[in-house]
Symmetry: C2
Subunit: 214 residues, 2 copies
DNA sequence: TCGTGTGAAAATATTCACAGCC
DNA sequence: GGCTGTGAATATTTTCACACGA
């Protein structure tokens, strides 16, 4: 099902949009929609129809001329493009409020994304059991990451400890990091980082809301 | 302190980066850094130095030639640019796991962002007290939103109820929506929507991790 | 006939390079 | 001397428009 790209470089924005199309196609499939063309799909995703077609063209030809796209087929194709059909294992570092909320988010399981290790440096938290996982010392990342086959790290520690967590994850052999802390981190080139910060999106809203008024 | 833009249109990417600069400047200020030039600021933010200068130039001239930018001054300026210096009030719709996690996130208060109303349509949840807020029926949005001076809505309901929540929020007079549900919503042009979906960022990671290998 | 797939055109965004100013 | 602010050059992304195939 996996669909390696036809071209060298794929815009980051394309990946983001593919994730949106996937989300919409999954909903449509559940609703029993069988075929969709680029125009209505684009409309729900707030993009241009040729944008949809171009985004897909980076990976191949999946539509039927004069007809459109078969919803469940395209859904599977996009999953393959994003490698969302593979099983991914993650380590969560920092079991504070945010960390616990993520551990308790059941949607992950059902989407091939599993948090299989919880880590913290607070001796009072180490050993605690949370949603079926024992909390380990961050020092044991080095052994647990390879042992559990973990490729992604999730940082939910306070900002001042984010860099240390990142370094420990990288040293343990992680390939990508989701950083929920409000701190930038520095990692080697071969490690990918995604920053997730509530306020970034809030500021998009506040900026737009006020701007519109003038 | 508020800093209306010099130009008509400002790229969305610029707003996102300003949020990043703000985050970094706040950390630098706490660390006692007084002056920073575009080059090192750009480096921590993983952008080009002239990008930083151009982003700021959309709003005005805030640096000192031959010196750089005064950290705390620039921090305040950017806050003004993003209208993050204003107090914002939000209504949260859907007090499930995700909703509770957000209600229990103390960082909001300290950043001029307050969730002042919690709403749900489940009769068993209505009336419950959560982190100092009483849960109201979503039907009372219509009166509570103007009464409490709310401008932003946060949707944390299951996907199938997202559109209804959105419509209720819009009818109640909301100006912007943060949508945590995994559903697209349709709203009038004057309402802004930001989609927040864990998997979008996960897919960026998974795509990059696998792509790199080839 | 209808909607995809795709070069070519247009629009945007980023980076360069340097004049201007502290 | 050093770093900002900015027009000009480049690169990238989006949109158009139409040939092509079901």
């Amino acid at each position: 099902m996996n669909q390696p790209p036809k071209y060298e470089h794929i815009p980051r924005a394309t990946i983001q949009r593919l994730a949106t199309y996937l989300q919409v196609l999954e909903a449509m499939d559940k609703d029993g929609v069988q075929v969709i063309s680029s125009e209505p799909l684009a409309r729900v995703c707030d993009v241009n129809a040729s944008q949809v077609r171009k985004d897909l063209a980076y990976f191949g030809e999946f539509g039927v001329r004069g007809v459109g796209y078969y919803v469940s087929y395209l859904r599977d194709i996009i999953k393959g493009c994003l490698y969302a059909d593979l099983k991914w294992k993650a380590a969560l570092v920092g079991v504070g409020n945010m960390g616990r909320a993520l551990l308790n988010y059941p949607e992950f399981r059902s989407n091939n994304f599993n948090i299989v290790g919880a880590f913290d440096c607070d001796p009072f938290k180490i050993g605690e059991r949370l949603y079926g996982l024992e909390v380990y010392c961050t020092k044991s990342l080095m052994e647990k990451v390879p042992e559990l086959g973990i490729e992604i790290g999730i940082i939910t520690v306070p900002p001042e400890r984010a860099q240390r967590a990142a370094t420990q994850l990288v040293d343990a052999g992680i390939k990508g990091i989701l950083n929920y802390s409000a701190a930038r981190i520095s990692v080697p080139d071969h490690v990918f980082v995604e920053y997730i910060n509530f306020f970034h999106q809030v500021y998009s809203l506040t900026f737009n809301i006020v701007s519109q008024k003038r």
